[in-house]
Symmetry: C2
Subunit: 397 residues, 2 copies
C-alpha cells in the first residue's frame, strides 16, 4: 500500500501562540469572574495576571508552537460580547455540545467540499477519521452523496480513538484494499481515501484551570487533511496531475498498549464538549516502552533497528514538544531526523489525528528527502497505546 495525493486545508483562522496564551488567560479569568460576580475590577485583573502566569508556566511556549489554526473566529479577538461560542454571555461554564456542534458542522462541510471536489474520481472507500466531532450522517457521507458517489464509495467512520487514529485508519485502509473479493472489485484496482477533520478548539473548557487543561488548551489545534491509499505505484502515478508524484510505501504496522496506564490519557464526552485527561507522566511512560516497541516493529518489518535509527526520517506525532525531544534523545537521532515533526508542531500545533498525516505530506513534498529514504512513524494515544509503522519514500512507477 502506498500513501499519496496528500492535500490539507488550513482552518480559516490562524492565531499566533502569544495571542493564544493571552486570550486563554483572559477567557479563564472571565469565566471565574462570571461565577463570582462580587469580584472587584482589581480582583479580576489580578485573576487575569494569575492565569497569565499559569499559562506561561504550563502552556506550550511560543518557542515550540508559533501558529495554530482554528475554525472558530472567537480566538482571533477579545470582543467578548461578539463571541460565537466562548463569550460566556449565556452561561459562564460555556456552551453546550449542540451549540458547539453547529459551528463545527459548518467547518466540517467546508473542509469536505475543498478536499473532495465533485470533479474528482470517486474512491472505492472513504475512511473518515475524527476524535473531535461526530454526527451521523457525517460530512464525509454528505459529500459522497453531493458528488453522486453514493453507489461507488463506501464511507466508514474511525472515530474517538485519539491522536494515534491515523494508524488504525491505515490498518483499515490496507485491509479494504486487500480484503475485497475480485467480484466486488469488478476488475478495478480500487483506491481508499482517508479524511481527517479534527476540531479540538470546539471543546475548550475555560472553567477548568488545572495545569493539565492549560497544557491541552495551548497545545491542540484544528486541522483537516486528506490522502489516498493506493494498491501500488501505478495508482499513485495516475493520481498525480503534474510533475513527479511521491508517496510512502507501507511495509508494516504494529501497535501495543502499556499496562497500568489506562488513566494517563482519557477522552470522553461531556455536556460542554469532549474532555481530555492528560497526565504529565505520558512522555516518561512512552519513553520507558519505546525501545521494546521499536524492536518489535523492526522485527515485524524484517529491518535492522540500528540501520533505521541511523538513516530513517522519524514522523513522530508531536503530542507535545517533550515527546519529540525525548524520542530523539532515547534513540540517539540527529535533529534532522525529527525536524519535520517539529516543523508541523511549530506551524500547526497538535491537530490530534490529523497531525501525523501533515508530517507525512511534508516528507513526500520535501525534495531534500530522496526516494528510498526509510520512514518510521510513531503515534500515541489513550490506553496508553503506542502505534507505529515502517514506510519508504517512493516515486510513482
Amino acid at each position: 500500500m502506498i500513501l499519496g495525493h496528500f492535500a490539507h486545508v488550513r482552518p480559516p483562522y490562524l492565531v499566533a501562540q502569544s495571542d493564544t496564551l493571552d486570550w486563554l488567560a483572559q477567557a479563564h479569568a472571565r469565566t471565574e469572574a462570571r461565577q463570582n460576580p462580587d469580584l472587584s475590577l482589581a480582583d479580576q485583573e489580578a485573576l487575569a495576571r494569575k492565569m497569565h502566569a499559569l499559562l506561561r508556566r504550563y502552556g506550550c511556549p511560543e518557542t515550540r508552537i508559533k501558529t495554530r489554526g482554528v475554525v472558530i473566529p472567537d480566538f482571533t479577538h477579545q470582543n467578548w460580547e461578539a463571541m460565537e461560542l466562548f463569550g460566556g454571555t449565556k452561561d459562564p461554564l460555556g456552551p453546550f455540545v449542540e451549540e458547539r456542534n453547529c459551528v463545527l458542522q459548518k467547518a466540517g462541510r467546508e473542509a469536505c467540499t475543498a478536499l473532495f471536489p465533485a470533479s474528482a474520481e470517486p474512491p472505492a472507500h472513504l475512511i473518515h477519521v475524527s476524535c473531535t466531532w461526530y454526527v451521523s450522517p457525517s460530512c464525509a457521507q454528505e459529500r459522497v452523496v453531493q458528488n453522486g458517489w453514493e453507489r461507488e464509495t463506501v464511507v466508514t467512520h474511525a472515530y474517538h480513538m485519539g491522536c494515534y487514529a491515523a494508524m488504525p485508519a491505515l490498518l483499515m485502509a490496507r485491509g479494504f484494499l486487500a480484503g475485497a473479493t475480485p467480484m466486488e472489485r469488478g476488475g478495478r484496482d480500487g483506491r481508499v481515501d482517508l479524511l481527517h477533520t479534527e476540531f479540538c478548539s470546539g471543546h475548550l473548557q475555560t472553567h477548568d484551570h488545572s495545569p493539565e487543561q492549560l497544557v491541552v488548551q495551548s497545545l491542540f489545534a484544528d486541522g483537516s487533511i486528506r490522502y489516498s491509499a493506493f494498491r501500488d505505484g501505478s495508482g499513485l502515478a495516475a493520481a498525480a496531475e503534474n510533475g513527479p508524484a511521491t508517496g510512502l510505501q507501507l511495509s508494516t504496522l504494529h501497535e501495543i498498549m502499556i499496562p497500568d496506564t489506562l488513566t494517563a490519557i482519557t477522552w470522553e464526552c461531556s455536556a460542554r464538549g469532549m474532555k481530555m485527561g492528560l497526565s504529565r507522566e505520558v512522555p516518561a511512560l512512552i519513553a520507558a516502552h519505546l525501545d521494546g516497541f521499536l524492536e518489535a516493529l523492526c522485527a515485524r518489518g524484517n529491518r535492522s533497528k540500528a540501520d533505521l535509527l541511523r538513516t530513517a526520517q522519524f514522523a513522530i506525532h508531536p503530542g507535545g514538544p517533550k515527546i519529540i525531544d525525548e524520542i530523539q534523545r532515547l534513540c540517539g537521532l540527529a535533529p534532522e531526523q525529527t525536524e519535520l515533526s517539529r516543523i508541523i508542531l511549530r506551524d500547526y500545533g497538535n491537530m490530534s489525528s490529523a497531525t501525523l498525516p501533515h508530517v507525512w505530506e511534508l516528507i513526500c513534498g520535501e525534495t531534500g528527502i530522496p526516494v528510498g529514504t526509510p520512514v518510521v512513524s510513531l503515534a500515541f494515544g489513550p490506553g496508553l497505546c503506542i502505534s507505529g509503522g515502517l514506510f519508504e519514500k517512493v516515486g510513482a512507477r
Copy 2:
C-alpha cells in the same frame, strides 16, 4: 471469512413492553409537570393519560416487542425519587451526558468481563462497535489490558455509524484478516473478535414528546454481543469446545447510500445524551431502493437473486416491525425466511448495531436451518445507508 463463536449477555434488567409504555407515559408526563409547577394534580393525571394514548398510537406495540433488556434499573420501577438517572429530581430535562456515562461505563465493563474471560485465547484484533457510548480508553481496551493481551491484541473502534454498524465492522474484520503481511502474522492464522455494546436506554429524552421520539424510545433497547471472524473452518473448529460448531461464511458485502435522504435518520451528541432523528418515511425510502440493491449485491456475489429469494434465510436488521414486513412483502418471501429477525425484535427490541449479530447467532444455533443454507443480511442506517452481505451457514471443517 467465517463468523462464529457467538455469545451475548442479556442486560441485567428485562422489561415487559406493556410496562415500558406505561413507564414512558409517566416519565414524559412528570417531565412536563416539573417544567410547569402550576399544573394541578388533575392536570397532571390528564397529561399522563394523554402521553399514554400517544404511546399507544406511536410506540412499538406489545404484539411486536414483548421484552427489552436495559442496563439502567430506573425502567423497572416507578419510585421516581429512587431513580438513578431519570427521576428528574435534579433537572426536569434529565441528566447530563457525564452522569449517563458513569452508569453506561459500569455496564460496558460488566459486558466485557463476561464476554472476554481471562482464560480465552487472545485475538489478533478486537473491533469494538458502538453507536451509543464512547470513552477512550474503551472498555475493550481496558479488558485487553486486564487480560494481559496488550502486546497481542490490537483494539480498533467502530463508533457512531448507526444500526448498520455490524456491516462496516465485518468489512474491517475481513480486511484485518486479509491485510497483514506474513511477517506481521508471525506464522499465526490470526482471529478477529468483534464486540458490540449498545446502550440505547442511556440516551432517553423525556422532554421531547414528538411522535418520532416516542417511536424511538419504545423501540430501542440495550444489548452486548461478541463473535469471532475466522479465516477458515479450522479456526471455527478450534474455537468450539463442545459439539458441532456452526458459522456463517461470508461471500460478499455491498453498501450504498440513497440520494436525498440525509435527514431521514440522524444521530448526534447533545448535552443530555445522543439524539436520534427518525423520519416515518424510512421504510418506504428503503423499500424503493431495495430491489436494485439486492440485484447489485447478488451480482457481486455471483448468485442468482431469484434463487436466494426462494431459499435464503433473511437476517434483516429489525429497525422496526414495518421494515421486516415491507421487505418480506417486496421480495415475496415466506414468513419463515424472516422469522428469526422478528423473534429477535420480539424478545430483545432494537439493540442498534448489536441486533443483527443476535440474528446471526440464532441462525447458527437453529438446528432447523441446515448447513448450506444461504443467508442474506440487510441493515440500514443514517445516510440513508443500505448495507448487505451474502453468507452461507457452514459447519466446522
